[in-house]
Amino acid sequence: MKEIVLKTNGLTKRYKDFTALDHVDITVEKGDIYGLIGRNGAGKTTLMKLITTLTNKSDGEFELFNTGDSNLTETKRRIGCLIENSAFFPNMSAYSNLKYYAIQKGIVNLNQIDEALELVDLADCKKKKFKNFSLGMKQRLGIALALMDNPDFIILDEPINGLDPIGISQLRDTFKMLNEKKGITILISSHILSELYTVATKFCILEKGRVVKELTKEELDVECSRCISIKTDDVKNAAVVLEKELKTTNYTVVDNREIRLYDYLDNAGKVNKTLAKNDINVMSIAETGISLEDYFKTVIEEVR
Protein backbone atom coordinates (compact mmCIF):
# COMPACT_ATOMS: atom_id res chain seq x y z
CA MET A 1 0.00 0.00 0.00
CA LYS A 2 1.32 3.40 -0.98
CA GLU A 3 2.19 6.00 1.65
CA ILE A 4 -0.48 8.66 2.01
CA VAL A 5 1.00 12.11 1.56
CA LEU A 6 -2.14 14.18 2.02
CA LYS A 7 -5.55 13.20 3.31
CA THR A 8 -8.34 15.65 3.94
CA ASN A 9 -11.47 14.80 5.83
CA GLY A 10 -14.46 17.12 5.59
CA LEU A 11 -12.18 20.10 5.12
CA THR A 12 -14.25 23.26 5.12
CA LYS A 13 -13.48 26.96 4.88
CA ARG A 14 -16.10 29.65 5.40
CA TYR A 15 -15.77 33.39 5.01
CA LYS A 16 -18.74 34.78 6.92
CA ASP A 17 -21.72 33.65 4.78
CA PHE A 18 -19.64 32.33 1.89
CA THR A 19 -18.40 28.74 1.89
CA ALA A 20 -15.22 28.59 -0.18
CA LEU A 21 -14.56 24.91 0.55
CA ASP A 22 -17.29 22.52 1.54
CA HIS A 23 -16.42 19.22 3.23
CA VAL A 24 -13.61 18.26 0.86
CA ASP A 25 -12.26 14.72 1.08
CA ILE A 26 -9.24 13.96 -1.08
CA THR A 27 -6.32 11.56 -0.78
CA VAL A 28 -2.95 12.10 -2.43
CA GLU A 29 -0.66 9.08 -2.42
CA LYS A 30 3.11 9.04 -2.73
CA GLY A 31 4.19 9.33 -6.36
CA ASP A 32 0.96 10.91 -7.56
CA ILE A 33 0.80 13.98 -9.72
CA TYR A 34 -2.55 15.08 -8.42
CA GLY A 35 -4.35 17.63 -10.56
CA LEU A 36 -6.92 19.94 -9.03
CA ILE A 37 -9.25 21.27 -11.69
CA GLY A 38 -11.92 23.86 -11.26
CA ARG A 39 -13.15 27.13 -12.59
CA ASN A 40 -11.99 30.40 -11.08
CA GLY A 41 -13.35 30.57 -7.55
CA ALA A 42 -13.99 26.82 -7.32
CA GLY A 43 -11.84 26.53 -4.18
CA LYS A 44 -8.50 25.28 -5.55
CA THR A 45 -6.38 28.05 -4.01
CA THR A 46 -8.32 27.94 -0.75
CA LEU A 47 -7.61 24.22 -0.45
CA MET A 48 -3.91 24.79 -1.10
CA LYS A 49 -3.81 27.70 1.35
CA LEU A 50 -5.34 25.49 4.03
CA ILE A 51 -2.81 22.73 3.45
CA THR A 52 0.08 25.18 3.60
CA THR A 53 -1.40 26.87 6.70
CA LEU A 54 -1.72 30.25 5.03
CA THR A 55 -5.29 30.28 6.25
CA ASN A 56 -7.15 28.53 9.04
CA LYS A 57 -9.82 25.89 8.48
CA SER A 58 -13.41 26.38 9.62
CA ASP A 59 -14.13 22.69 9.97
CA GLY A 60 -12.77 19.23 9.18
CA GLU A 61 -9.18 18.06 9.31
CA PHE A 62 -6.25 17.03 7.18
CA GLU A 63 -3.06 15.06 7.52
CA LEU A 64 0.27 15.62 5.81
CA PHE A 65 2.57 12.59 5.91
CA ASN A 66 0.32 11.15 8.64
CA THR A 67 0.77 14.24 10.82
CA GLY A 68 -2.37 16.01 11.97
CA ASP A 69 -2.99 19.63 11.00
CA SER A 70 -2.44 20.88 14.55
CA ASN A 71 1.22 19.90 14.57
CA LEU A 72 2.51 20.57 11.08
CA THR A 73 5.46 22.92 11.57
CA GLU A 74 8.19 20.30 11.26
CA THR A 75 6.32 18.29 8.61
CA LYS A 76 6.14 21.38 6.42
CA ARG A 77 9.89 20.99 6.01
CA ARG A 78 9.01 18.19 3.55
CA ILE A 79 6.87 20.38 1.32
CA GLY A 80 7.58 23.12 -1.17
CA CYS A 81 4.91 25.35 -2.59
CA LEU A 82 3.95 28.10 -4.96
CA ILE A 83 0.59 29.60 -4.06
CA GLU A 84 -0.95 32.11 -6.48
CA ASN A 85 1.70 34.32 -8.08
CA SER A 86 5.30 34.08 -6.98
CA ALA A 87 6.36 36.77 -4.51
CA PHE A 88 9.91 37.98 -3.98
CA PHE A 89 11.73 41.17 -3.04
CA PRO A 90 11.84 43.20 -6.26
CA ASN A 91 15.18 44.92 -5.69
CA MET A 92 17.05 41.71 -4.98
CA SER A 93 18.43 39.36 -7.61
CA ALA A 94 17.03 35.88 -8.20
CA TYR A 95 20.02 34.37 -6.40
CA SER A 96 19.83 36.76 -3.44
CA ASN A 97 16.11 36.10 -3.06
CA LEU A 98 16.69 32.35 -2.97
CA LYS A 99 19.65 32.79 -0.63
CA TYR A 100 17.42 34.78 1.74
CA TYR A 101 15.08 31.77 1.96
CA ALA A 102 17.98 29.30 2.07
CA ILE A 103 19.30 31.07 5.19
CA GLN A 104 15.80 31.13 6.62
CA LYS A 105 15.36 27.37 6.05
CA GLY A 106 18.81 26.68 7.47
CA ILE A 107 20.13 25.23 4.19
CA VAL A 108 23.87 24.90 4.55
CA ASN A 109 24.69 23.69 1.05
CA LEU A 110 24.13 26.79 -1.08
CA ASN A 111 24.70 24.74 -4.26
CA GLN A 112 21.04 23.85 -3.89
CA ILE A 113 20.21 27.39 -5.03
CA ASP A 114 22.09 26.91 -8.29
CA GLU A 115 20.55 23.47 -8.76
CA ALA A 116 17.04 24.86 -8.29
CA LEU A 117 17.74 27.73 -10.71
CA GLU A 118 19.16 25.23 -13.20
CA LEU A 119 16.02 23.08 -12.99
CA VAL A 120 13.78 25.99 -14.00
CA ASP A 121 16.24 27.29 -16.58
CA LEU A 122 17.06 30.50 -14.75
CA ALA A 123 20.75 29.87 -14.11
CA ASP A 124 21.77 32.53 -16.62
CA CYS A 125 19.57 35.16 -14.98
CA LYS A 126 20.54 34.58 -11.39
CA LYS A 127 22.07 38.05 -11.00
CA LYS A 128 19.11 39.80 -12.59
CA LYS A 129 16.80 41.68 -10.23
CA PHE A 130 13.37 40.14 -9.67
CA LYS A 131 11.62 43.37 -10.70
CA ASN A 132 13.14 43.03 -14.18
CA PHE A 133 11.84 39.48 -14.66
CA SER A 134 9.03 38.66 -17.09
CA LEU A 135 5.86 37.05 -15.71
CA GLY A 136 7.01 33.61 -16.83
CA MET A 137 10.44 34.04 -15.23
CA LYS A 138 8.79 35.13 -11.99
CA GLN A 139 6.67 31.97 -11.99
CA ARG A 140 9.73 29.84 -12.65
CA LEU A 141 11.60 31.46 -9.77
CA GLY A 142 8.62 30.64 -7.55
CA ILE A 143 8.92 27.02 -8.65
CA ALA A 144 12.66 27.10 -7.96
CA LEU A 145 11.90 28.18 -4.38
CA ALA A 146 9.39 25.34 -4.04
CA LEU A 147 12.04 22.87 -5.24
CA MET A 148 14.81 24.12 -2.98
CA ASP A 149 15.65 21.92 0.03
CA ASN A 150 14.57 18.74 -1.83
CA PRO A 151 10.92 18.49 -0.80
CA ASP A 152 8.97 15.21 -0.91
CA PHE A 153 5.75 16.97 -1.85
CA ILE A 154 5.29 20.13 -3.90
CA ILE A 155 2.11 22.16 -4.09
CA LEU A 156 1.80 24.35 -7.17
CA ASP A 157 -1.12 26.68 -7.68
CA GLU A 158 -1.59 27.37 -11.39
CA PRO A 159 2.17 27.32 -11.98
CA ILE A 160 1.99 27.67 -15.74
CA ASN A 161 0.07 30.92 -15.69
CA GLY A 162 1.88 33.45 -17.82
CA LEU A 163 4.28 30.98 -19.40
CA ASP A 164 4.83 30.77 -23.14
CA PRO A 165 4.25 27.41 -24.90
CA ILE A 166 7.94 26.48 -24.75
CA GLY A 167 8.06 27.38 -21.06
CA ILE A 168 4.96 25.26 -20.42
CA SER A 169 6.52 22.32 -22.24
CA GLN A 170 9.79 22.67 -20.30
CA LEU A 171 7.99 22.83 -16.98
CA ARG A 172 5.87 19.83 -17.88
CA ASP A 173 9.06 17.87 -18.51
CA THR A 174 10.50 19.16 -15.23
CA PHE A 175 7.44 18.02 -13.27
CA LYS A 176 7.57 14.59 -14.90
CA MET A 177 11.30 14.29 -14.21
CA LEU A 178 10.85 15.32 -10.56
CA ASN A 179 8.05 12.83 -10.17
CA GLU A 180 9.68 9.93 -11.96
CA LYS A 181 13.36 10.33 -11.05
CA LYS A 182 13.17 12.00 -7.63
CA GLY A 183 9.89 10.45 -6.54
CA ILE A 184 8.37 13.81 -5.65
CA THR A 185 4.61 13.86 -5.17
CA ILE A 186 2.97 16.85 -6.82
CA LEU A 187 -0.33 18.61 -6.16
CA ILE A 188 -0.96 20.95 -9.06
CA SER A 189 -3.96 23.10 -9.92
CA SER A 190 -5.30 24.58 -13.10
CA HIS A 191 -8.61 25.69 -14.54
CA ILE A 192 -7.78 24.03 -17.86
CA LEU A 193 -8.20 20.25 -17.86
CA SER A 194 -6.24 19.67 -21.07
CA GLU A 195 -3.27 21.45 -19.50
CA LEU A 196 -3.24 19.13 -16.51
CA TYR A 197 -3.98 16.01 -18.55
CA THR A 198 -0.45 15.94 -19.94
CA VAL A 199 1.17 15.73 -16.48
CA ALA A 200 -1.29 14.54 -13.86
CA THR A 201 -1.94 10.93 -12.92
CA LYS A 202 -5.01 11.66 -10.78
CA PHE A 203 -7.63 14.34 -11.10
CA CYS A 204 -10.03 16.05 -8.76
CA ILE A 205 -12.70 18.34 -10.16
CA LEU A 206 -13.84 21.06 -7.79
CA GLU A 207 -16.91 23.21 -8.24
CA LYS A 208 -18.34 25.68 -5.75
CA GLY A 209 -16.01 24.40 -3.07
CA ARG A 210 -17.08 20.77 -3.45
CA VAL A 211 -15.36 17.73 -4.91
CA VAL A 212 -17.42 16.84 -7.95
CA LYS A 213 -15.29 13.98 -9.24
CA GLU A 214 -12.03 12.29 -8.26
CA LEU A 215 -10.61 9.95 -10.90
CA THR A 216 -7.39 8.45 -12.22
CA LYS A 217 -6.01 9.21 -15.66
CA GLU A 218 -7.17 5.80 -16.88
CA GLU A 219 -10.67 6.47 -15.65
CA LEU A 220 -10.64 9.87 -17.32
CA ASP A 221 -9.56 8.25 -20.58
CA VAL A 222 -12.47 5.86 -20.34
CA GLU A 223 -14.87 8.71 -19.55
CA CYS A 224 -13.76 10.66 -22.60
CA SER A 225 -13.09 7.93 -25.11
CA ARG A 226 -15.21 7.10 -28.19
CA CYS A 227 -17.82 4.51 -27.35
CA ILE A 228 -21.41 3.41 -27.83
CA SER A 229 -23.59 4.61 -25.01
CA ILE A 230 -26.44 2.19 -24.37
CA LYS A 231 -29.21 3.34 -22.09
CA THR A 232 -31.41 0.58 -20.76
CA ASP A 233 -33.43 -0.34 -17.69
CA ASP A 234 -31.84 -3.82 -17.60
CA VAL A 235 -28.09 -3.25 -17.43
CA LYS A 236 -27.37 -6.67 -15.94
CA ASN A 237 -28.93 -8.71 -18.77
CA ALA A 238 -27.64 -6.31 -21.40
CA ALA A 239 -24.10 -7.03 -20.17
CA VAL A 240 -24.76 -10.77 -20.42
CA VAL A 241 -26.00 -10.37 -24.01
CA LEU A 242 -22.91 -8.32 -24.95
CA GLU A 243 -20.63 -11.04 -23.61
CA LYS A 244 -22.55 -14.09 -24.96
CA GLU A 245 -23.92 -12.86 -28.27
CA LEU A 246 -21.39 -10.19 -29.30
CA LYS A 247 -18.38 -11.88 -27.62
CA THR A 248 -17.01 -8.68 -26.04
CA THR A 249 -16.01 -7.68 -22.54
CA ASN A 250 -14.73 -4.29 -23.66
CA TYR A 251 -17.47 -2.31 -21.93
CA THR A 252 -18.07 -0.46 -18.67
CA VAL A 253 -21.20 -0.16 -16.62
CA VAL A 254 -21.58 3.52 -15.83
CA ASP A 255 -24.63 3.20 -13.58
CA ASN A 256 -27.82 1.15 -13.44
CA ARG A 257 -29.08 2.82 -16.62
CA GLU A 258 -26.02 3.05 -18.86
CA ILE A 259 -23.38 0.81 -20.41
CA ARG A 260 -20.50 2.08 -22.50
CA LEU A 261 -19.30 -0.28 -25.20
CA TYR A 262 -15.88 0.30 -26.78
CA ASP A 263 -16.23 -2.28 -29.57
CA TYR A 264 -18.56 -2.27 -32.62
CA LEU A 265 -18.05 1.49 -32.93
CA ASP A 266 -19.00 1.44 -36.60
CA ASN A 267 -21.83 -1.02 -36.16
CA ALA A 268 -24.21 0.34 -33.54
CA GLY A 269 -27.12 -1.05 -35.53
CA LYS A 270 -25.95 -4.63 -35.00
CA VAL A 271 -25.62 -4.03 -31.24
CA ASN A 272 -29.12 -2.56 -31.08
CA LYS A 273 -30.57 -5.44 -33.09
CA THR A 274 -28.86 -8.06 -30.91
CA LEU A 275 -30.06 -6.48 -27.67
CA ALA A 276 -33.62 -6.15 -29.00
CA LYS A 277 -33.61 -9.78 -30.18
CA ASN A 278 -32.75 -10.81 -26.58
CA ASP A 279 -35.65 -8.79 -25.10
CA ILE A 280 -33.50 -5.98 -23.74
CA ASN A 281 -35.40 -2.72 -23.63
CA VAL A 282 -33.00 -0.23 -25.23
CA MET A 283 -34.10 3.32 -24.43
CA SER A 284 -31.36 4.92 -26.47
CA ILE A 285 -28.19 3.93 -28.27
CA ALA A 286 -25.71 6.42 -29.64
CA GLU A 287 -22.08 6.80 -30.48
CA THR A 288 -20.36 9.15 -28.10
CA GLY A 289 -16.90 10.45 -27.19
CA ILE A 290 -16.01 13.83 -25.82
CA SER A 291 -13.05 16.13 -25.58
CA LEU A 292 -11.48 16.87 -22.21
CA GLU A 293 -12.96 20.36 -22.23
CA ASP A 294 -16.43 19.04 -23.04
CA TYR A 295 -16.09 16.41 -20.35
CA PHE A 296 -15.11 19.08 -17.82
CA LYS A 297 -18.05 21.24 -18.90
CA THR A 298 -20.44 18.28 -18.65
CA VAL A 299 -19.31 17.42 -15.13
CA ILE A 300 -19.62 21.05 -14.01
CA GLU A 301 -23.02 21.43 -15.68
CA GLU A 302 -24.30 18.36 -13.82
CA VAL A 303 -23.55 20.07 -10.51
CA ARG A 304 -25.03 23.41 -11.50
Binding site: T75, A87, Q104, K105
Partner: protein, 277 residues
Protein backbone atom coordinates in the same frame (compact mmCIF):
# COMPACT_ATOMS: atom_id res chain seq x y z
CA UNK B 1 14.27 31.82 15.08
CA UNK B 2 17.96 32.61 14.67
CA UNK B 3 17.77 31.71 10.96
CA UNK B 4 14.89 34.12 10.35
CA UNK B 5 16.77 36.95 12.06
CA UNK B 6 19.93 36.05 10.14
CA UNK B 7 18.08 36.03 6.80
CA UNK B 8 16.46 39.39 7.58
CA UNK B 9 19.84 40.90 8.38
CA UNK B 10 21.16 39.51 5.08
CA UNK B 11 18.28 41.16 3.21
CA UNK B 12 18.25 44.47 5.09
CA UNK B 13 21.99 45.01 4.72
CA UNK B 14 21.59 44.55 0.96
CA UNK B 15 18.94 47.27 0.72
CA UNK B 16 19.32 51.04 0.81
CA UNK B 17 16.76 51.88 3.49
CA UNK B 18 18.92 51.04 6.49
CA UNK B 19 21.81 53.17 5.20
CA UNK B 20 19.49 56.10 4.41
CA UNK B 21 18.02 55.87 7.92
CA UNK B 22 21.51 55.77 9.36
CA UNK B 23 22.53 58.80 7.30
CA UNK B 24 19.46 60.75 8.46
CA UNK B 25 20.32 59.92 12.06
CA UNK B 26 23.94 61.05 11.62
CA UNK B 27 22.84 64.29 9.91
CA UNK B 28 20.36 64.98 12.73
CA UNK B 29 23.02 64.39 15.32
CA UNK B 30 25.68 66.33 13.39
CA UNK B 31 23.52 69.41 12.85
CA UNK B 32 22.41 69.38 16.48
CA UNK B 33 26.01 69.10 17.60
CA UNK B 34 27.16 71.90 15.34
CA UNK B 35 24.32 74.20 16.43
CA UNK B 36 24.62 72.98 20.02
CA UNK B 37 20.84 72.78 19.97
CA UNK B 38 19.53 69.28 20.73
CA UNK B 39 16.55 67.98 18.84
CA UNK B 40 17.31 70.29 15.95
CA UNK B 41 15.29 68.22 13.53
CA UNK B 42 11.99 66.47 13.80
CA UNK B 43 8.85 67.13 15.79
CA UNK B 44 10.36 66.82 19.23
CA UNK B 45 12.45 69.85 20.01
CA UNK B 46 13.80 69.42 23.51
CA UNK B 47 12.55 72.94 24.33
CA UNK B 48 15.13 75.64 24.71
CA UNK B 49 13.59 76.94 27.93
CA UNK B 50 14.20 73.60 29.59
CA UNK B 51 17.84 73.54 28.54
CA UNK B 52 19.25 76.95 28.98
CA UNK B 53 17.18 80.03 29.85
CA UNK B 54 20.15 82.39 29.48
CA UNK B 55 20.80 81.18 25.95
CA UNK B 56 17.12 81.57 25.11
CA UNK B 57 17.19 85.19 26.31
CA UNK B 58 20.15 85.89 24.01
CA UNK B 59 18.29 84.30 21.10
CA UNK B 60 15.24 86.51 21.76
CA UNK B 61 17.39 89.61 22.22
CA UNK B 62 19.08 89.15 18.85
CA UNK B 63 15.74 88.36 17.23
CA UNK B 64 15.17 87.54 13.56
CA UNK B 65 16.47 84.54 11.69
CA UNK B 66 19.70 83.21 13.16
CA UNK B 67 22.15 81.10 11.22
CA UNK B 68 23.49 77.83 12.63
CA UNK B 69 26.83 79.44 13.47
CA UNK B 70 25.12 82.38 15.25
CA UNK B 71 23.10 79.99 17.41
CA UNK B 72 26.28 78.05 18.14
CA UNK B 73 28.03 81.25 19.26
CA UNK B 74 25.20 82.00 21.71
CA UNK B 75 25.34 78.52 23.21
CA UNK B 76 29.11 78.55 23.47
CA UNK B 77 28.71 81.31 26.08
CA UNK B 78 26.31 79.21 28.13
CA UNK B 79 27.69 75.66 28.47
CA UNK B 80 25.37 72.78 29.37
CA UNK B 81 25.34 68.98 29.08
CA UNK B 82 24.52 68.82 25.37
CA UNK B 83 24.74 65.03 25.05
CA UNK B 84 22.24 64.45 27.87
CA UNK B 85 19.84 66.98 26.35
CA UNK B 86 20.31 65.33 22.97
CA UNK B 87 19.14 62.06 24.52
CA UNK B 88 16.11 63.90 25.94
CA UNK B 89 15.07 64.53 22.34
CA UNK B 90 15.33 60.82 21.43
CA UNK B 91 11.65 60.75 20.49
CA UNK B 92 13.00 61.68 17.04
CA UNK B 93 14.18 58.08 16.76
CA UNK B 94 10.52 57.04 16.48
CA UNK B 95 10.75 57.77 12.76
CA UNK B 96 13.81 55.54 12.47
CA UNK B 97 11.82 52.79 14.25
CA UNK B 98 9.02 53.17 11.69
CA UNK B 99 11.50 52.65 8.85
CA UNK B 100 12.96 49.56 10.52
CA UNK B 101 9.57 47.94 11.20
CA UNK B 102 8.51 48.83 7.66
CA UNK B 103 11.48 47.09 6.05
CA UNK B 104 11.50 44.10 8.40
CA UNK B 105 7.76 43.32 8.65
CA UNK B 106 5.52 45.61 6.58
CA UNK B 107 7.59 44.92 3.43
CA UNK B 108 7.01 41.19 3.92
CA UNK B 109 3.25 41.83 3.81
CA UNK B 110 3.24 44.35 0.99
CA UNK B 111 5.50 42.25 -1.28
CA UNK B 112 3.50 39.17 -0.17
CA UNK B 113 6.74 37.33 0.55
CA UNK B 114 5.36 36.39 3.96
CA UNK B 115 3.53 33.45 2.35
CA UNK B 116 6.87 31.91 1.36
CA UNK B 117 7.92 31.88 5.02
CA UNK B 118 4.63 30.95 6.70
CA UNK B 119 4.07 28.05 4.27
CA UNK B 120 7.52 26.63 5.12
CA UNK B 121 8.58 25.00 8.37
CA UNK B 122 8.09 28.22 10.33
CA UNK B 123 5.22 28.52 12.77
CA UNK B 124 3.38 31.81 13.04
CA UNK B 125 4.61 32.14 16.61
CA UNK B 126 8.23 31.74 15.50
CA UNK B 127 7.70 34.19 12.64
CA UNK B 128 6.10 36.85 14.84
CA UNK B 129 8.65 36.71 17.64
CA UNK B 130 11.63 36.47 15.27
CA UNK B 131 10.49 39.60 13.50
CA UNK B 132 9.87 41.36 16.82
CA UNK B 133 13.33 40.44 18.10
CA UNK B 134 14.88 41.51 14.80
CA UNK B 135 13.14 44.91 15.01
CA UNK B 136 14.19 45.39 18.65
CA UNK B 137 17.75 44.31 17.85
CA UNK B 138 18.22 46.69 14.93
CA UNK B 139 16.44 49.59 16.64
CA UNK B 140 18.63 49.02 19.73
CA UNK B 141 21.74 49.25 17.56
CA UNK B 142 20.45 52.55 16.18
CA UNK B 143 19.74 53.85 19.70
CA UNK B 144 23.18 52.83 20.95
CA UNK B 145 24.98 54.35 17.96
CA UNK B 146 22.87 57.50 18.32
CA UNK B 147 23.51 57.84 22.07
CA UNK B 148 27.14 56.78 22.36
CA UNK B 149 28.14 58.18 18.96
CA UNK B 150 26.78 61.58 19.95
CA UNK B 151 28.48 61.32 23.35
CA UNK B 152 31.94 60.60 21.94
CA UNK B 153 31.77 62.96 18.94
CA UNK B 154 30.33 65.76 21.09
CA UNK B 155 33.13 65.32 23.61
CA UNK B 156 35.63 65.55 20.77
CA UNK B 157 34.02 68.46 18.92
CA UNK B 158 32.38 70.58 21.64
CA UNK B 159 34.64 69.67 24.55
CA UNK B 160 34.14 68.79 28.21
CA UNK B 161 32.00 71.87 28.95
CA UNK B 162 29.19 70.43 26.86
CA UNK B 163 29.60 66.81 27.94
CA UNK B 164 28.19 64.66 30.69
CA UNK B 165 29.72 61.38 31.90
CA UNK B 166 29.64 58.01 30.17
CA UNK B 167 27.76 56.70 33.21
CA UNK B 168 25.01 59.31 32.75
CA UNK B 169 24.60 58.40 29.08
CA UNK B 170 24.43 54.69 29.95
CA UNK B 171 21.91 55.33 32.72
CA UNK B 172 19.66 57.46 30.49
CA UNK B 173 19.89 54.87 27.72
CA UNK B 174 18.80 52.10 30.10
CA UNK B 175 15.92 54.20 31.46
CA UNK B 176 14.67 54.97 27.96
CA UNK B 177 14.96 51.51 26.40
CA UNK B 178 11.87 49.82 27.99
CA UNK B 179 9.51 52.53 26.81
CA UNK B 180 11.19 52.51 23.38
CA UNK B 181 10.72 48.73 23.17
CA UNK B 182 7.07 49.29 24.08
CA UNK B 183 6.70 51.69 21.16
CA UNK B 184 8.50 49.27 18.82
CA UNK B 185 6.04 46.58 19.98
CA UNK B 186 3.19 48.97 19.14
CA UNK B 187 4.62 49.45 15.62
CA UNK B 188 5.04 45.68 15.15
CA UNK B 189 1.44 45.22 16.33
CA UNK B 190 0.19 47.85 13.85
CA UNK B 191 2.14 46.26 11.00
CA UNK B 192 0.67 42.77 11.53
CA UNK B 193 -2.85 44.07 12.15
CA UNK B 194 -3.06 46.26 9.02
CA UNK B 195 -1.00 43.81 6.89
CA UNK B 196 -0.16 46.44 4.28
CA UNK B 197 2.93 48.62 3.91
CA UNK B 198 1.04 51.74 2.85
CA UNK B 199 -1.55 51.40 5.62
CA UNK B 200 1.23 50.85 8.15
CA UNK B 201 2.97 54.07 7.11
CA UNK B 202 -0.29 56.02 7.04
CA UNK B 203 -1.10 54.95 10.59
CA UNK B 204 2.30 54.89 12.25
CA UNK B 205 3.63 58.27 11.07
CA UNK B 206 0.94 60.43 12.69
CA UNK B 207 0.33 57.95 15.54
CA UNK B 208 2.32 59.79 18.23
CA UNK B 209 0.80 63.13 17.31
CA UNK B 210 -2.68 61.59 17.37
CA UNK B 211 -1.90 60.03 20.75
CA UNK B 212 -0.78 63.40 22.15
CA UNK B 213 -3.93 65.00 20.78
CA UNK B 214 -6.14 62.34 22.33
CA UNK B 215 -4.51 62.67 25.75
CA UNK B 216 -4.95 66.44 25.68
CA UNK B 217 -8.57 66.02 24.62
CA UNK B 218 -9.22 63.57 27.47
CA UNK B 219 -7.57 65.88 29.96
CA UNK B 220 -9.81 68.74 28.90
CA UNK B 221 -13.05 66.80 28.58
CA UNK B 222 -12.64 64.76 31.77
CA UNK B 223 -10.80 67.54 33.61
CA UNK B 224 -8.11 65.07 34.66
CA UNK B 225 -4.78 65.97 36.23
CA UNK B 226 -2.11 66.90 33.69
CA UNK B 227 0.37 64.49 35.35
CA UNK B 228 -0.76 61.82 32.88
CA UNK B 229 1.07 63.81 30.20
CA UNK B 230 4.33 62.93 31.95
CA UNK B 231 3.86 59.38 30.69
CA UNK B 232 3.31 60.32 27.08
CA UNK B 233 6.18 58.92 24.94
CA UNK B 234 7.95 62.13 23.95
CA UNK B 235 7.61 63.75 27.38
CA UNK B 236 8.67 60.57 29.17
CA UNK B 237 11.89 60.24 27.13
CA UNK B 238 12.69 63.89 27.86
CA UNK B 239 12.06 63.59 31.57
CA UNK B 240 13.98 60.31 31.86
CA UNK B 241 17.08 62.08 30.54
CA UNK B 242 16.90 64.96 33.05
CA UNK B 243 17.68 63.47 36.48
CA UNK B 244 14.28 61.90 37.14
CA UNK B 245 13.15 60.65 40.56
CA UNK B 246 13.35 56.91 41.22
CA UNK B 247 9.59 56.65 41.46
CA UNK B 248 9.19 58.16 37.99
CA UNK B 249 11.84 55.82 36.51
CA UNK B 250 10.08 52.76 37.95
CA UNK B 251 6.70 53.92 36.61
CA UNK B 252 8.18 54.51 33.14
CA UNK B 253 9.89 51.11 33.11
CA UNK B 254 6.62 49.45 34.16
CA UNK B 255 4.76 51.40 31.47
CA UNK B 256 7.30 50.16 28.91
CA UNK B 257 6.81 46.56 30.08
CA UNK B 258 3.03 47.02 29.97
CA UNK B 259 3.26 48.28 26.38
CA UNK B 260 5.52 45.36 25.39
CA UNK B 261 3.15 42.78 26.88
CA UNK B 262 -0.16 44.26 25.71
CA UNK B 263 0.87 45.17 22.15
CA UNK B 264 2.54 41.81 21.58
CA UNK B 265 -0.49 39.90 22.87
CA UNK B 266 -2.75 41.87 20.51
CA UNK B 267 -0.24 41.61 17.65
CA UNK B 268 0.41 37.90 17.99
CA UNK B 269 -3.22 36.83 18.35
CA UNK B 270 -4.27 39.01 15.45
CA UNK B 271 -1.49 37.53 13.30
CA UNK B 272 -2.24 33.96 14.40
CA UNK B 273 -5.78 34.19 13.08
CA UNK B 274 -5.03 36.24 9.98
CA UNK B 275 -5.25 34.91 6.45
CA UNK B 276 -1.99 35.38 4.58
CA UNK B 277 -2.65 36.76 1.12
Amino acid sequence: MFNIIKSDLYRILRGKAIYIAFLVMVVMSGLSMYELSPGYLGASSAGLEQINEDALEDVYRLGGELSLSEIRKIYEKHPYEFDKEFLAANANLYYIFIVMVAIIIAADFSKRTIKNTVSSAVSRKKYYYSKLICCILICSIFVLINNYGTYFVNKLVNGENFSSSLGTITRVTLYQLPIMYGIISLLVCVSVVVKKGSAFNAISIPLLMAFQLLITLFLRVLKMKATILNYEYQTALGKLARNPENDYIVKCVLLGIFYIVIFNIIGYYSFKRAEIK
